[in-house]
Amino acid sequence: MTIAYAYGPNPWPQSFWDARAAANFVCGGAGAGLVVAAALSGARGTALVVPLLAGLAIVACGLAAVFAEIGRPLRAANVVRNPATSWMTREAIVAPLLFACGVAGAFGSLAFVATAAALALAFVYCQGRMVHAARGIPAWRAPQVPWLFVATGMAEGLGLWLALAAFLELRSARVAGWLGVAIIARYVIFRIYRRGLGRALAAAPARALDAAGRALLWGGTLAPLVLLAIAAAVRTQPWAPWLLLAAGLCAALFGAWLKATLVLRAGHTQGYTLPALPVRGTRA
């Protein structure tokens, strides 16, 4: 393991949260979105249980990744000590409730499914607020970040549900509609977020975000919208579900790319600024 330190006045990439933290945000959003999609689909039986458990498993993978990142894993239980102000604590409190309700919804009462969906939304919101509270990183502390996380999480989860639906032979018109809404919302929020940042970002994170934004527009927004429209037009054809699969995967993968970019490549520090230069020779 290398220890990288950068000392200087200019912004530099943060080195404390790496790909494991990014995996937590990507998997947390997609998994929570899949739980919400499972609830929205109105499916029952296997068609409910598979996406629901898959969503929980994806969330668990993200949490396992971040567990591997912390310096003192044996103290992980300490994470719940500050619910008053820390969004990381709140995320950690919501997670077990989400798992409990998700499993209860899958194997027990349907009433738990709606509760699990609400908790999944809360979970992804906590993740968004968590990043937003990291005030040392200009690209993260923007006010739109929590909503960007919620929208990307929902778009990714609904996309994954459509991908699963192709294999489970599920009816998916309702979820496909919600996916259309989610990917449009995601792109609109991203544009507002990017415009809000303006020139506050250093050149490197700005370039990374703009590249991810272009990919999000073409691959994560327009492509799935076109695929969804074609799939709706040819819904009686046997290959229509494959169009939905492609739309779902596009929505999920480009959303994940955006989030990973935000954490890993746009996560530059603020650096230091000098609002005034010293006027030497003016102090005895």
Partner: protein
């Protein structure tokens, strides 16, 4: 009340890094970890270029972003304004480090020594395993302050009660004292000089002030 604060006179700092060395000596930080560091900043374009030496580190903010985000309550703020880290509670998540706008926090994932894997004698003597894989940062030499005040000494005046970086500063650029005491050295310096705080627009209320010019005549009175 007492509010400990530090003042750095940018007109006086010569970038000698003695404060950095003194801090490392006083706090036994590992290689690569500098709780007090001095940036060498070049401003302007040739031929109109200025060099500014900028001491940085934990700003011991009034509203520390690291405090709110810490999920373990390891980060705390004392009534005298000093922000501390409880190494036994911290789980090393790094959240405080990304929340700090001053890049003041460090995390050393494993023990690091100056000459390879094995510690030198002096390193072995002062190596603290509790600091591995957790967040660390400048403490304003809180142990010196507490021990000094317990003996009736005045931090910022008596060297035994003053942070090591301030004691070591050869140009008198660094000063330390009680902001709430109008007669303290730092209060006087802030009255007599124009100053700013780093990233003041973020509302963190740093307890670290930078002097850059003498006060305007009406302000000094």
């Amino acid at each position: 009340m007492t509010r400990w604060a530090m003042v750095a006179d940018l007109r006086r700092c010569v970038g000698c890094q003695t404060c950095t060395a003194a801090c490392r000596h006083a706090n036994a930080t590992p290689p690569g970890v500098q709780w007090r560091r001095v940036l060498d900043v070049e401003v302007g374009e040739f031929p109109d270029v200025k060099r500014v030496f900028l001491p940085v580190g934990c700003q011991h903010c009034d509203e520390p972003p690291c405090l709110d985000v810490c999920p373990t309550t390891a980060t705390r703020k004392r009534d005298d304004g000093i922000v501390t880290v409880d190494y036994d509670l911290c789980l090393g998540c790094g959240y405080c480090a990304v929340a700090c706008p001053y890049q003041a926090r460090h995390r050393t994932p494993r023990a690091v020594f100056a000459y390879g894997g094995a510690p030198a004698k002096h390193e072995a003597k002062r190596h603290d395993p509790a600091r591995i894989a957790v967040a660390t940062k400048c403490t304003f030499c809180v142990e010196r302050i507490d021990s000094g005040t317990a003996q009736g000494l005045t931090p910022g005046v008596d060297p035994e009660a003053t942070p090591a970086c301030v004691n070591s500063c050869l140009s008198g650029a660094l000063a330390f004292g009680d902001l709430d005491d109008p007669g303290s050295n730092v209060s006087q310096l802030l009255r007599e000089n124009r100053h700013f705080r780093m990233h003041a627009e973020l509302g963190t209320g740093p307890g670290f002030y930078y002097l850059w010019d003498k006060a305007l005549p009406e302000a000094a009175q």
